[in-house]
């Protein structure tokens, strides 16, 4: 993949739990081709999986008539991933989980997906679709100079 400007790879997933692993594997393959270190590939896999799970579960509400779009754009020194669903978009911002509150039943044990996404990639933004559809999360992971 030398002399690469931007190369796009697109995947469409059914809104069924488990299919996030297809996007995860595809993102890992692209990241490896770009020369990302193994630990960054693992970060990306988890972030992409969590983004797809949110899209399947919260965006498309597990409606198998709807699909989740995953668009990977490989640039010279970064990989952008957009995960698109037919929901209204995430209104809340990622919140760092409070393990003490979870252990004491004051916070839902779940609800860590957005936090993990934001913590594991270099950029993450949640964008609501203009007409209440086609909302997406956009992730960017950058090649470190020493690994490029």
């Amino acid at each position: 993949m030398s002399a690469m400007k931007t190369t796009n790879v697109e995947v469409r997933l059914p809104s069924r739990m488990g299919f996030e692993k297809v996007a995860m594997s595809t993102a890992a393959s692209v990241a490896k081709l770009m020369g990302f270190r193994d630990d960054r590939v693992e970060d990306l896999k988890t972030a992409v999986a969590e983004a797809c799970i949110n899209a399947i579960e919260h965006g498309n509400r597990l409606n198998e008539k709807l699909s989740v779009g995953v668009v990977l754009s490989a640039g010279e020194d970064s990989l952008e991933v957009k995960v698109i669903d037919d929901g209204k978009g995430m209104r809340k911002q990622p919140v760092k989980p409070d393990i003490d509150r979870k252990m004491h039943g004051e916070e839902d044990p779940r609800g860590m997906g957005m936090f993990l996404i934001q913590a594991l990639v270099d950029e993450a933004e949640w964008v609501a679709g203009s007409n209440g559809k086609s909302s997406y999360v956009r992730l960017v992971i950058r090649l470190d100079k020493e690994q490029g």
Partner: protein, 119 residues
């Protein structure tokens, strides 16, 4: 699409002579793993089981729903006065467990030998 989670229980004794119950997981740990994670834990006797080791050596994929199941197990164990430790996580999932704070309530060890030696 998700690999079924398998689990089984082993009873061991630590070098210090403490009985230790090991829950060994295999496959994915996700929202579909409730029976394998919580069900297996809940099948243990709360009166005789005091030290629990979670073995993730054969787990390839853990998502946030799977982490939530582990936290639910930790809550139940804490309420029962049991101590929980884990081993066999990859470097990545060791980082993820640390990020979400699980290490405050479950010590992580690289392998079974290191975990048993510490108990």
């Amino acid at each position: 699409m998700q690999t079924e989670t398998k689990s089984h229980v082993d009873q061991l004794t630590s070098p210090a002579g403490h009985p230790v119950t090991v829950l060994r997981f295999e496959g994915d740990i996700a929202s579909t793993s409730k029976d394998a994670v919580l069900g297996t834990y809940q099948s243990l006797s709360k009166t005789t089981t005091k030290l629990i080791l979670l073995d993730f050596t054969k787990v390839d994929y853990i998502n946030s729903s799977g982490i939530a199941l582990v936290i639910q197990l930790l809550i139940e164990a804490s309420n029962a006065g049991q101590k929980v430790y884990a081993f066999g996580l990859s470097a990545h999932f060791t980082k993820v467990f640390t990020m979400v704070g699980i290490t405050k309530y479950a010590g992580l060890f690289p392998d079974q030998g290191a975990a048993l030696a510490a108990l």
